[in-house]
């Protein structure tokens, strides 16, 4: 065992990349939950985004088009969820599970011809001399555009929820859908848009795994990241900046256990690989005491009686 092979600067740089799929998916889910909807289908939307992004990137040769396709794919699948829960008024927990099972199957079906292919590489943004600065350069100025997009997204969601009218309406719908309806807001329409936003974010998060993190396609490759993203929203008590913090924490654990595997620590690989899941549980236990921050109408079905 040789721990000196783990370079802390590279670890932090890699951690930001490891955190991005969770960050994207969790930010999307945060908006959905602030609108009062619990979508447990994040894993399904992520894996569908992973294959949509991968396939389109391979076919067109452009990773950026791939990411757009992943967003569209995730949003389309989430539209099914919106149909079930907002129009057919189905139970949100069951519908979310259905979405995940369906997404896993559909992605496996779509991905049949894409096993073992290398996707086109997304180049890192060129910051010129900035990336040559010691320590700061590799950490802040050596990443792909999507990673920065994730950070911007968190900031945008924070600003929108806190300072704009749109954010206020969204939160009103999430806190008390009956009151929002009485004020004349279109609860179902607003929630459907929020669900689609969440789907698009999850799709991009999935594509980040298949196009940049791994990069290749294997069945079920998201391996529970969607569920960790769901846990992260609870962990963040529905606040955008805490999602960022949490995502980096989990990204750090994931990356550290990978590096420890590489360094040949005496702990068997399987036990290192289960650590992110166990830590998720531990964090959930520590933080689940305070549920006061949860949106008031979270998970409840809305039906306007005439």
């Amino acid at each position: 065992m040789d721990l000196s092979v783990i370079n802390p600067i590279l670890l932090i740089a890699a951690l930001m990349s490891a955190a991005t799929p969770i960050l994207l998916a969790a930010t999307g889910e945060l908006v959905v939950e602030r609108a009062g909807v619990l979508n447990l289908g994040v894993e399904g939307m992520m894996i569908l985004g992973a294959i949509c992004g991968f396939a389109i990137a391979v076919e067109t040769g452009s990773p950026l088009t791939g990411f757009l396709a992943a967003a569209v794919g995730g949003a389309m699948l989430s539209l099914l969820f919106a149909l079930l829960t907002q129009v057919a008024l189905a139970n949100q927990v069951a519908s979310g599970l259905a979405l995940t099972l369906f997404g896993l199957g559909l992605s496996a079906l779509l991905g049949q011809g894409y096993v073992g292919i290398k996707p086109p590489r997304m180049p890192d943004i060129n910051f010129g001399f900035l990336s040559d600065i010691p320590v700061v350069g590799p950490i802040l100025f050596s990443h792909d555009p999507v990673l920065y997009f994730g950070l911007l997204l968190v900031a945008a969601v924070w600003v929108t929820l806190k300072f704009t009218r749109v954010g206020l309406i969204l939160r009103a719908v999430g806190e008390n859908h009956d009151a929002a309806h009485a004020l004349g807001y279109k609860v179902v329409r607003i929630r459907t848009l929020a669900i689609m936003f969440g789907g698009a974010c999850a799709g991009m998060g999935g594509a980040y795994i298949s196009l940049i993190r791994v990069p290749q396609w294997t069945e079920g490759m998201t391996a529970g990241v969607g569920w960790i993203a769901l846990a992260l929203v609870v962990f963040a008590s529905w606040k955008p900046w805490r999602v960022l913090l949490g995502a980096y924490l989990f990204g750090g654990i994931t990356q550290l256990q990978l590096n420890l595997q590489g360094a040949g620590v005496a702990i068997p690989v399987e036990y290192l690989a289960m650590s992110p899941y166990i830590i998720t549980i531990v964090v959930l236990v520590i933080l689940s005491a305070d549920k006061s921050a949860a949106p008031g109408s979270l998970g409840r079905t809305f039906h306007a009686s005439h």
Binding site: L84, L89, T280, I281, S288
Partner: protein, 360 residues
């Protein structure tokens, strides 16, 4: 204008009819899916649903129906109790793995001794393995209010890693020429979950599933605990006034479903699968969620739904080898079924109204 009116009581008629409608809609859209994959839709559906039951080789496939159906029914019965009460155990896959590991571990610990007591001990160990794995989310929920959906699901991934570790390490066959996987329990008489009647597919797991169905039926219709389960799901506040202890109910629901999933894992590893291996679990724990919903969370419905799902597995295998239909297509097919069921359930709880909504 079309609008929805909430029914004062859920419609009994639609409660029975929606599963059938959902199956029909899935046939239709599944057929379209198969057509889109370039297969003849009618032939595909016939191959999946007719061939295993009445085709030329039905004598071989019919026993498979029991072998594949038993674990699904066993797990789904446990899940249905929780789902009825609003306790969402979706980590049955992990409990299934742990049951198999504990049970197989118990059996292999005695190898090569022969005794009639070994198999019963394995059954107990399997049930215990599933139970203890389900107790983790249960106790965390009761003590700390942690979300049982997320915890039970995280534990699936932990169990999968444990399974990999065990089949490469502790339980690895010492005479296996270095290949991963344990000794084959089918070749170890005392531990083998053999068919009770040869060639019928009837092994002890099928018996256990039938007992679980009867047990659940009596519990739900005749016992106070079953009443507590139903009331908690339908009206949690009323349940509190009726003296139901919510914490104890969570422990009961998760514990029972974990135990049954563990049993399913044990019967599988000691019988049809034969050994602990990295790819031992094939998703029964997740498919059982569909089975529970399709069976309307009712014991008899679950038996029918379990057999139907088993049929899609068997027919899917046949379609895969004969028509080259991808295995994933069957997975999509199963997911579709749950979608249609949830969507069509609208008519159980709501009534479609045409014309202008009158002002009150």
């Amino acid at each position: 204008m079309i609008w929805l009116e909430k029914r004062p009581q859920p419609s009994r008629f639609f409660a029975y009819v929606t599963p059938l409608l959902a199956v029909f809609a899935t046939f239709l859209f599944g057929g379209l899916l198969f057509a889109a994959l370039g297969k003849d839709p009618v032939q595909s559906i016939v191959t999946i649903f007719w061939e295993p039951l009445f085709g030329e080789f039905a004598f071989y496939y019919r026993p498979q129906l029991l072998i594949k159906g038993a674990p699904l029914v066993l797990i789904a019965i446990g899940l249905s109790l929780g789902f009825k009460a609003g306790v969402w155990n979706i980590g049955a896959e992990g409990q299934y793995i742990m049951g198999a590991l504990f049970g197989a571990g118990m059996g292999l610990a005695f190898y090569p001794a022969e005794s009639v007591l070994i198999f019963p001990a394995m059954v107990l160990a399997g049930a215990f393995g599933g139970w203890i794995w389900a107790m983790i989310p249960a106790l965390l929920k009761v003590r700390f209010g942690t979300n049982e959906i997320l915890v039970s699901l995280m534990l699936v991934y932990v169990a999968e890693q444990l399974l990999a570790s065990m089949s490469l390490g502790l339980l690895k066959n010492p005479e296996g020429f270095g290949f991963p996987g344990s000794r084959n329990l089918q070749q170890y008489d005392s531990a083998h979950n053999a068919e009770i009647i040869a060639g019928s597919g009837m092994h002890w797991g099928v018996v256990a599933a039938l007992i679980a169905v009867i047990f659940a039926y009596v519990l739900l219709t005749r016992h106070r605990l079953g009443f507590a389960v139903r009331v908690t799901g339908e009206a949690p506040r009323a349940a509190r006034f009726a003296g139901v202890n919510p914490g104890r109910l969570v422990l009961f629901c998760l514990g029972t479903s974990g135990m049954l999933a563990g049993l399913a894992g044990l019967f599988e590893v000691a019988g049809p699968a034969g050994q602990v291996s990295i790819d031992f679990n094939v998703g029964y724990g997740f498919t059982a969620i569909i089975v529970a919903f399709l069976g309307r969370l009712h014991p008899v419905g679950i038996v029918l739904a379990g057999l139907l799902m088993a049929l899609t597995y068997i027919g899917g295998d046949i379609a895969q080898s004969q028509l080259g239909l991808p295995a994933a297509a069957i997975q999509v097919f199963q997911g579709m079924l749950l979608f249609f069921l949830l969507a069509l359930d609208l008519f159980t709880n709501y009534r479609l109204r045409f014309g202008r909504a009158e002002t009150v």
